[in-house]
Structures are given as C-alpha cells and as structure tokens.
C-alpha cells in the first residue's frame, strides 16, 4: 500500500511533467533575432532558436522588444482608465493596473514593437521579461543587472517593478538607481543571460491568473477575417457545451432537491398537516376575535334611553343601527338635550338631523348619536 508521502511525491512528479510539457509546447521566447523554444535537458532549461518567427499561447518578450512606462492615474473606474490608455498608447500596449490609495490607480504599460506585433496571428499572452524576472526574485527591495546584449537593469522597490536598457545616460547600476531615485544601499544581483532565462521561467510559474489576464492579446478584426473557421468552431462548441452543461446542472439540482424532499417522507406530511391545522385554527381565532371586536351591545342604548328619560325628555321613536342611534323626542329646550347628550360619557358625537319644531309648547327634535367604541367595550 503506497504511503501518503509516496502518493504526494508521485503527484508532484506528474505535475512537474505536465508543467514541463506545457512550457515546452506552449511557451515561446521572442528575441530580436527570432523565436526561441524552451527545451529541458540535463543542464536545465535551454533556449533553441527556430528559423521562423512563431507565436505560441504564452510569449515572453525580451527587454529590447518593448518600452516600459509607469504612471499614476487619478481615476477609480478601470474601464475609464482603459479608454485613456488606449488613447495614449494605442493597441500595441499591454497594461497592468493596480489600485493605489485615495481612488487612484497605478499603471505599468508595456509598449511592444509594432512590427513584431503585426506578425502575431493568434490570440495569446504577451509577457514582458522584466515582469517575470521580478516575480522570480524573492527579495522585496533589490536591483538586478542582466548581462544580455544590450545589458539592462531591473529594480524592485516598494511593490513597484521598473526596468531600463543600458544607454549612454544609464551606463551602470549606480546611474540607474540615481535615475529611478532608489537608495544606494539596496541589495544587488548580477545575472548572466543563461541565469536570467532560468529565473524568468521560474517567475512565469508564480504569475497569478489575474496578472496573466492583463497580458492577454485578443485577435483583431483583420485576423478574424482570414482565420475565422477555428474561432467559429470553438464558439459553436463552447455554446453547445454551455447549453448542455447548464441543462444538466439544472436537472441535477432539481433531482437532488426532489430526492432530499422525498427523503423527509411521512414526517414532512405530518408537519405540513400540522401547519395547515395551525393556519386554520389561527384564522378561526381571528374570525372570532373580529366578531367580538365588532359586536354591538344593547346595554349602552338602554343606558342612554334611561339617561334621557331622567332629563325630562319625552322619547317618541328610537332607532339603532350598529353604533348609531337616531332618537326623536320632545323637550322644553331641544338644545339642552343635545348639550346633555354631548356631555354624556358613552356618546362620541350627537347632532340634530332636522330642524326642531314647536309642538304643544315643547320642541320636537331628531338627534343622531354615535356611541363611543370604548364605551361599549367598557360595558363588555
């Protein structure tokens, strides 16, 4: 039985083999004099020159094939920055956008050789060598000089990566540091051409997917016009795959949830019955409560009749409909009766509904009274 260590060793071996295949089949190094393919041998990774310029999925560009610009933009929105960068650098540049404080962003722009770009026929990743080399260096703050032809310098300081080719003005590492405003005491490493490419391939392994996305070069319209068939096939295949996969996923989710519900079985039915009973009982209680709240009592009406008879009024007609009572009667002064009624605690409103008339020295009145709800509740 294989131990855990043996299994993980085997997995690492498989992974390393896969990475070797990916590097040797999908990576190309673009240099001034042509394309180089990485080949693994006993001494490590070697670069073999190919007779024709060829592009692969991952293309690493040597330093002299691009120019580097680093700027801060006071723009928060990434799509706005991209529009500005397109105006400023055109389509031959790739940009790495990273957030800064106070809503601004720092952009590292890599402007590639236009003549070289015109020969790119496939969509691919275009990776500047300085960015990859900086990934390979473990120190946070350091400088490097790479002994290529022409030599170039790289500085990694406070999260920024800056590189420059040697020129009349930048003739050595001191002048490069001075030009970039870097401290004199930064640790420094010198790399040979061979060492640097080994380090570049190691750095390539450390690039994150989001960083990789910044260096993706989309196919342009002219390329699509002449080479549309593979894109059409891939698009149709992807669309078909999406249609199939999404349908299968939805079906799987539905079936799995239905199975979960079925697994609950009779217990669920019992619970549903109980919930239905609870709802029915609650509705019943609410219905009874509503009836009780709207219940009209007769006692307050009789209490009011008794009160009026005690005020020496003669009552001829009493009509009650829910909380409203209409009384017709006679008294020496109808307004006195109305005043008494308005003062009575059970009465909410009282008003004459028709003009008072004199009958046998008494005033005949018709008054409409609305009883207070709380008064009837109090009686209850």
């Amino acid at each position: 039985m294989p131990t855990q260590k043996t299994v993980s060793n085997r997995l690492f071996a498989i992974l390393a083999k896969v990475m070797r295949v990916v590097i040797s089949k999908a990576v190309a190094v673009q240099r001034q004099n042509g394309t180089y393919f990485p080949v693994k041998n006993a001494q490590g990774w070697q670069l073999d020159l190919q007779p024709e310029r060829t592009f692969r999925l991952f293309n690493i560009f040597e330093r002299r094939l691009y120019n580097e610009f680093h700027k801060n933009y006071p723009i928060q929105d990434v799509s706005d920055i991209k529009s500005v960068l397109l105006q400023e650098f055109g389509s031959s540049a790739q940009h790495q956008i990273s957030p800064l404080l106070q809503g601004s962003r720092r952009v590292s722009s890599y402007v590639f050789d236009k003549e070289l770009l015109s020969s790119v026929r496939i969509p691919c990743f275009m990776l500047p060598v300085s960015m990859l080399l900086a990934k390979a260096v473990p120190e946070k703050n350091t400088t490097l000089s790479v002994a290529e032809n022409p030599p170039w310098f790289l500085a990694k300081f406070s999260g920024m990566v800056v590189s420059q080719s040697q020129s009349g003005l930048i003739s050595d590492i001191q002048r490069f540091r001075f030009n970039q405003g870097l401290p004199e005491d930064l640790p420094h490493h010198e790399l040979t051409a061979q060492n640097s490419w080994d380090a570049v391939l190691q750095g390539a392994m450390k690039v994150t997917p989001s960083e990789l996305g910044s260096f993706w070069r989309r196919p342009d319209a002219a390329m699509l016009n002449t080479h549309w068939q593979p894109y059409a096939i891939v698009t149709v295949l992807l669309a078909g795959l999406y249609m199939l996969a999404s349908s299968l996923l939805i079906n799987h989710q539905t079936e799995s949830r239905s199975a979960q519900i079925s697994a609950m079985g009779d217990e669920l039915n019992v619970l549903l019955d109980k919930q239905l009973t609870l709802t029915t009982d609650t509705t019943a209680i609410q219905s009874l409560a509503t009836f009780q709240n709207e219940q009209v009592l007769v006692a307050p009406t009789w209490e009011l009749v008794s009160y009026l008879l005690n005020q020496s009024a003669i009552l001829l007609d009493i009509r009650q409909s829910l909380q409203t009572i209409e009384l017709r009667g006679r008294a020496a002064r109808a307004t006195d009766v109305l005043m008494k009624l308005r003062e009575y605690p059970l009465v909410q409103t009282a008003e004459f509904t028709s003009p008072t008339v004199k009958v046998e020295n008494l005033e005949e009145f018709t008054v409409r009274i609305v009883l207070k709800k709380r008064a009837t509740d109090a009686v209850k």
Binding site: E267, D281, T283, I285, F291, Q295, R319, G329
Partner: protein, 182 residues
C-alpha cells in the same frame, strides 16, 4: 457559388438554428429553471418546518387551547335549520320567563365567517311587553349568549316612551354558531 448565395444560405442557417435549436432550448431551460425554483422553495419550506418542529407543536397546542376556550360558549350544530329551531324554542322560553312575548321570530339567513366553521345567522325579533322588561330581556339575552350582536333596534310610541309603558320593539340580531356537519 456566388457570394450573395453564400450570404443568403448563412442567414437562412442562422434563422433555422435560432428557430429550431436556440428557442426550444431556451424555452426548455426556462421551464427547468421554474421547476428548480419551485423545488428549491419546497425544500426550503420543508427544512424550515423540520427546524421549527418543536415550536410548531407548542404553538399548535397553544392555539388549540385558545380556540377550544372560545368555542365553549358557541352553539354547535349540524345544519342551519337546527340552530334556527334550537334558538327559536330556547329564546321563546327565555322571553316568556322575562315577562315579555316573542311576537315574531324570523331567521333571515346566514353567512360564513371568513373561511371557517363559524357562521352568523341573522334573526329578526319582535318583542312585546313593558319597556323595562324588554330592556332587561334584551340585555340578559346578550349576557347569556356571548356570540350575539345587535345590528339594529327600533321602538316607538306616539304618546312617548316610559319604562313602565307597554310597547313593541323590533330587533335584528346576529348569532354566531359553529357548524359541524356530521
């Protein structure tokens, strides 16, 4: 093949693909999504119910006790005629005992209370007797019948009403009862 024919064939192919592949797939997908949404809701409800099982049992017991308590005072009958006859006979005796005469008892109809077992029957009554007896009888009737509500009341006398006078009063009352068909 001329290029315009190629364009026409391409357009036709796209239309056919949309009509016979994309649209049916889209409709089927929508149907599947609706089914998934319903199933997801069912599952969420079922899970929530399982989680609240104890609380549900406690709430059910509490509500059942309240309902039983409220129902205690309500007449329980098998059909509407039964309640009509039952209260007519009962009330006739009651009013006689109160010194009044039930001159008219008319069951006008009944209505269901929401979607429950409870119904309200509308009864028109005419009572004859002394005013104080009518007053006392109407108040006592409501005291002994908690599910009773006076919807209207009318009484008149051309010579004027006094508690000792003989008069006739018309009442319209709603009676709450429980219908439990056998």
């Amino acid at each position: 093949m001329p290029s315009n024919k190629i364009v026409l064939l391409s357009v036709l192919s796209v239309i056919l693909v949309v009509k016979f592949a994309l649209v049916p797939w889209y409709e089927a997908q929508n149907e599947q999504i609706s089914e998934l949404t319903v199933t997801t809701r069912k599952l969420a409800k079922a899970t929530a119910l399982q989680d609240q099982k104890q609380a549900l049992d406690a709430e059910l017991a509490k509500v059942a006790a309240i309902k039983q308590d409220l129902e205690k005072s309500l007449p329980n009958v098998a059909d509407h005629n039964e309640i009509s006859l039952q209260i007519q006979s009962e009330w006739q005796q009651f009013f006689e005992a109160q010194g009044t005469e039930l001159k008219l008892f008319n069951w006008s109809g009944q209505a269901q209370q929401a979607d429950t077992q409870y119904w309200t029957g509308r009864v028109t009554l005419t009572l004859v007797g002394k005013v104080h007896q009518i007053a006392a009888a109407s108040v006592r009737l409501q005291q002994k019948t908690p599910g009773l509500s006076y919807s209207s009341f009318r009484m008149n006398r051309t010579q004027g009403l006094a508690f000792t006078d003989h008069a006739e009063a018309e009442f319209s009352v709603d009676v709450l009862y429980r219908l439990s068909p056998p």
